[in-house]
């Protein structure tokens, strides 16, 4: 019985954390957040060199062959740093190909995804909150025509895994005829969103069943992990500020009202670390718990993240309400984590169906 991280997992988090401390310091993060360009290829290249593009790709195809818990720990670390880039969409697309692809498709694409020669993303939502495989209506016959919403990091993507009617998956190349991406004015500038317009676009279906559900559950877990990392950082920033900002002649952390607000924020976050760990662990080891725990973790953690991000703004006073203050970066990351793949309320309803 061991419900803890292995040494390798600790090392993985440290390595990614160290990389981000060097390559995504507050100035760099700020520049990427404010940038016109949606994608920073150099920064993504650094992540690829660390192996982050191939975490869930099986070893025979050049990936690390790791489990979802490992990817979730990376997502936590990226979330803590509000790191910009295509990690989320790329990781999910790679997982979908590894689970759903034919041998030929896997051979063609997985090695390139693992080396980052090809960057991928996923196209799931069809509007009005329809994110789930059973809600997709895009017809996959002959060619693809229709719209998909909220693709993460579409500007970076060469390859798109598209959800199709009946819970199917297909791959489409961004450069192909009839494929057009239109930027969506999203608030989270660390993971820019696009709308996908398909007009008679060529596609290849992924033949193996169950890949869309795996993509959904893994996505929910990665968002929960990102939210845990981001929420922890919101608490940390607020506590740091309370130890330095002075009013009435003392640091504001002396005031019990604020101290208790900070304690409540920490209490909202820290006890749920094990929740995303277990949801990720269940994905590979406890199929009976996978769907339910992914839903519980996503609903709980992304809600907590949004709540402590709001609290963090208040804890910073006027400066917290400015564009200049970094808290807003996490606040907007929380907006993404909360809504992408379906709201907390939606996933609570799904979790409730398991009682």
């Amino acid at each position: 019985m061991d419900f803890g991280l292995s040494e390798e997992q600790g090392l993985l988090q440290d390595t990614v954390g160290q990389f981000l401390a060097n390559e995504n310091d507050p100035n760099q993060l700020r520049a990427r957040f404010d940038a016109e360009e949606a994608h920073d290829p150099t920064f993504w290249k650094g992540q690829i060199e660390l192996g982050l593009a191939g975490l869930l790709i099986p070893e025979p195809f050049g990936g690390a062959g790791l489990e979802l818990l490992d990817a979730a720990l990376v997502a936590e670390t990226l979330g803590r740093a509000a790191a910009p880039g295509p990690f989320l969409g790329h990781t999910l697309a790679a997982l979908a190909l590894a689970r759903g692809g034919s041998d030929a498709q896997k051979k063609t694409w997985l090695p390139k995804l693992a080396t980052g020669d090809v960057t991928a993303t996923v196209a799931l939502a069809e509007g009005e909150g329809r994110w789930m495989p059973e809600q997709w209506e895009l017809q996959a016959s002959g060619s693809l025509t229709g719209q998909k919403h909220h693709l993460p990091s579409g500007a970076a993507a060469d390859l798109i895994v598209v959800g199709t009617a009946g819970g199917g998956l297909a791959i489409v190349e961004s450069a192909a005829a009839g494929v057009r991406l239109e930027p969506y004015p999203g608030a989270d500038r660390t993971r820019r969103l696009d709308t996908l317009h398909l007009e008679g676009a060529a596609f290849e279906a992924l033949p193996e069943a169950g890949a869309a559900e795996a993509l959904r559950d893994a996505g929910l877990v990665l968002l929960a992990a990102d939210a845990f990392g981001g929420a922890s950082r919101c608490v940390e920033m607020s506590v740091e500020y309370a130890k330095t900002r002075e009013q009435f002649g003392v640091t504001i952390g002396h005031f019990q009202a604020l101290k208790h607000q900070l304690a409540n924020m920490a209490l909202e976050v820290e006890p749920s670390r094990g929740l995303f760990w277990y949801a990720a662990h269940a994905f590979d080891h406890a199929p009976e718990d996978t769907a339910r725990m992914a839903a519980v973790a996503k609903a709980h953690l992304t809600d907590r993240f949004m709540a402590v991000a709001r609290d963090a703004v208040e804890a910073h006073g006027g400066i917290g309400y400015t564009w200049e203050c970094d808290v807003q970066i996490w606040f907007k990351r929380a907006m993404f984590d909360r809504t992408w793949l379906g709201t907390p309320g939606f996933h609570r309803e799904r979790a409730a169906s398991h009682w």
């Binding site: 803890g4 209490l267 006890p271 709980h300």
Partner: protein, 403 residues
């Protein structure tokens, strides 16, 4: 990460099961005794087998087993399954025994520990006073040495179980000229003597579990002091170093939540099962998020313990997290029981680890969840601890001034 227990522990579980199947429930003549007598008899056997009083040396009536949180967890699970008595749950085993083992005199350990771990001796905790609750160190009950005896005068309040207790462990001001904290001693007192006047206090749920205790010229031998004179504050803060029950607490929370889901299934809103009502489902599922977080947080802490690591911040949060959850659970239950939410709970105290039964049971939790939130350090005091010790924020200015 590996959530299986492994073959060694599976074998241990089998061993515990077969022990239980031959020793509980009691058979023959024993089955006719009252429950306490049955429990004491069972504990004796279970201690001999190494299943109870595991952290207690053999010299003091324990089974002196190497610390093994997993085995402890398996024993708890199996005892629970068989509905057999575990280590006595009271304040005696939880607080007094570890304190004596660490700070007590040899004769004190021999005299008091064996009976306590069997459940033969029961204790009450005389800390709080009318003027000293959260600010416990301001306590005023006096103790003066008269020859070979302490003479104690004052009043304690909220003293749980004082009516039945054989002894009290008590904080008393013995050094009036020393500072606030340095003037306190930790004394043991025989409750069955003149001068002790226990007056039950009726709780809001109707039961009378806690009491006022008036002490008038109460006497206790000079050497019934734990630690030195003036060290009582430090002695009372002795950390509990025995196998901490973080998972036990989590499984209790989970059991109560399952009871709540059952209640939602059985209750009706507009003629339909309440569990089908979207608003109820959302509230239930929101609570489930906290319950699952609490559960896996318990798993995490168990692993830290197994690895000999400090759990850090999370270790300071268990009480507040679980009392918050219990309060949310009881509030939703209150909504589910409809018109019955006007019922008197009839003092029905719930059983630890078992979900409340019937409307009265849930109303009792609606009230008793507040008692638990106050007892042993209020929610605000917990927030102070999390903020100061956990997050490193400055200490409370008033608390520091009143030294």
């Amino acid at each position: 990460m590996d959530l299986s227990y492994g073959p060694e522990y599976d074998a241990f579980r089998e061993e515990v099961r077969s022990f239980l199947s031959s020793h509980w429930p009691p058979k023959g003549k024993e089955a006719e005794q009252d429950f306490l007598a049955q429990a004491i008899h069972f504990r004796r056997t279970a201690i001999e087998a190494g299943y109870l009083a595991r952290a207690i040396p053999k010299a003091y009536g324990g089974s002196e087993q190497a610390s093994d949180p997993l085995k402890a967890q398996i024993i708890r699970e199996e005892l629970g399954r068989a509905k057999a008595p575990g280590d006595p749950g009271g304040i005696g085993t939880m607080m007094l025994v570890p304190t004596l083992l660490e700070k007590g005199e040899e004769w004190q350990k021999q005299k008091f520990v064996p009976g306590t771990v069997l459940g033969e001796l029961s204790w009450c905790q005389g800390y709080s006073e009318p003027g000293s609750g959260s600010d416990l160190a301001s306590l005023k009950t006096r103790g003066e040495l008269d020859g070979d005896e302490w003479v104690i005068n004052g009043q304690k309040i909220w003293t749980s179980g004082a009516v039945h207790a054989d002894y009290m462990f008590c904080l008393v001001r013995t050094e009036p000229d020393a500072g606030k904290h340095a003037g306190i001693s930790y004394l043991l007192i025989d409750m069955k003597q003149e001068g002790i006047d226990v007056r039950p206090l009726r709780q809001m749920n109707g039961s009378a579990h806690f009491n006022e205790v008036f002490l008038t010229d109460v006497r206790t031998p000079k050497d019934w002091i734990v630690g030195q004179r003036g060290e009582g504050w430090i002695v009372s803060r002795t950390t509990l170093k025995h196998e901490r029950n973080s998972i036990g607490n989590a499984s209790m929370v989970e059991a109560t939540f399952k009871g709540l889901v059952r209640l939602a299934r059985e209750s009706k809103i507009d003629g339909r099962p309440a569990i089908e009502d979207p608003a109820i489902r959302q509230r239930l599922a929101t609570i489930e998020g906290y319950v699952q977080a609490h559960k896996y947080s318990g798993f995490r802490q168990l692993t830290h313990q197994l690895r000999g690591e400090d759990a850090g911040l999370i270790g300071l949060m268990n009480k507040l997290h679980s009392t918050n959850i219990n309060q949310e659970v009881s509030k939703l239950a209150f909504d589910l029981i409809g018109d019955d939410a006007m019922l008197d709970p009839e003092g029905g105290g719930g059983l630890m680890g078992v979900a409340p039964k019937g409307a009265e049971g849930w109303i009792n939790l609606f009230m008793s969840s507040l008692g638990v939130a106050i007892a042993g350090g209020t929610a605000n005091i917990q927030r102070n601890v999390i903020g100061e010790r956990g997050l490193g924020l400055p200490r409370d200015a008033y608390a520091q001034q009143s030294r």
